[in-house]
Amino acid sequence: MDAINWHSFFFLMCALVACTFAIAVVIASNIVRMACYLVISLAAVAGLFFLAGADFLGAAQLMVYVGGTMVLLVFGVMLTARGPFVSMKTGPAQWLVALMAAGALLFVLVQASFSIPAWAGPLASQPQPATLPATAEQLGYGLLGVRADQLDQRDAVARGGLSGYLLPFEIISVHLVVVLVGAAYLARAKRRVTKLSTNTAGSHKP
């Protein structure tokens, strides 16, 4: 009996939790429960990030997604979860079609995952680092325009394409500001336009 590979053990645990609760999100019909399951699934994904050596990303995932986005979503749920909207059923025909399409997609994706032998896992001879380097600092340099992990790149052509992420970083930050202002504008409290709502409600076909 070989020693238990703890990386594999924790990976399996996190993967199981993530997948189980993702499936639970699909199956659950109550919107509040779905939100709870989603939180658990996303937290487990953060665990997977840690296991893959992305410590900063894992933390960001926990804070931004599980902390921030989910709070936002739960707010939305609370604002709209009333009576008939809490659970809305879909017909079996649509389930059937969706399951067939999704099944085909899953088949294709899983088949592709196993199609490259080199992806199956590290070689036994490959050295595994006992501790992984923290990535937050490297990411920070990357955002400022320096690729800390590629400093010893010899290839002159490759060096030309390794200028870091300063410009995308700037664009993203402006984008974020615009989006948040826009979202606040859209979601601001306003008087309900009763005329429009009654009109559209009347024109729906059952």
Binding site: D2, I4, N5, H7, S8, F11, L12, A22, V25, V26, I31, A35, L42, A54, L57, Q61, V64, Y65, T69, L73, F75, L79, T80, F85, T90, Q94, W95, A101, A102, L105, L106, V110, S113, F114, I116, P117, A118, W119, A120, G121, P122, A124, Q126, P129, T135, L139, R147, D149, Q150, I172, V179, L180, G182, A183, L186, A187, S197, T200, A201, H204
Partner: protein, 114 residues
């Protein structure tokens, strides 16, 4: 092969990513609640993110030199940021839709059909 003893590879991460992705697609395809559709999108983004992280990690594959390195984490970081922005805007739209139509059923939102 005992999964507890053998090392975990890139393929395993990819499978978890695909399951999350497909769950997200199913969520989008079967939920009538607009918030359910949003949750599906979050799942899809997470599935994709997991792939980026896994491809960026050098210790999961036999040919380490082909790993995309820090790029993977960088892209994943951008995805998280954009997902947060997307969630904020989409939620604002959903609230607006709820205010004007008094429902969160996406099936009723077909006024733009041909």
């Amino acid at each position: 092969m005992n999964p507890l003893v053998a090392p975990i590879g890139l393929s395993h991460y990819l499978v978890v990513g695909s399951i999350l992705f497909v769950c997200g697609v199913l969520c989008m395809a079967t939920k009538r609640n607009v918030l359910g559709v949003l949750m599906g999108i979050e799942l899809v983004l997470n599935g994709a993110n997991l792939n980026f992280i896994a491809f960026g990690s050098p210790m999961l594959r036999a040919d380490q030199s082909n790993s995309i390195g820090l790029d993977g984490q960088m892209i994943a970081l951008f995805v998280i940021v954009l997902a947060a922005a997307e969630a904020a805007v989409a939620l604002a739209i959903a609230l607006n839709y709820y205010h004007t139509h008094a429902t969160v059923d996406v099936d009723q939102a077909n006024e733009l059909k041909g």
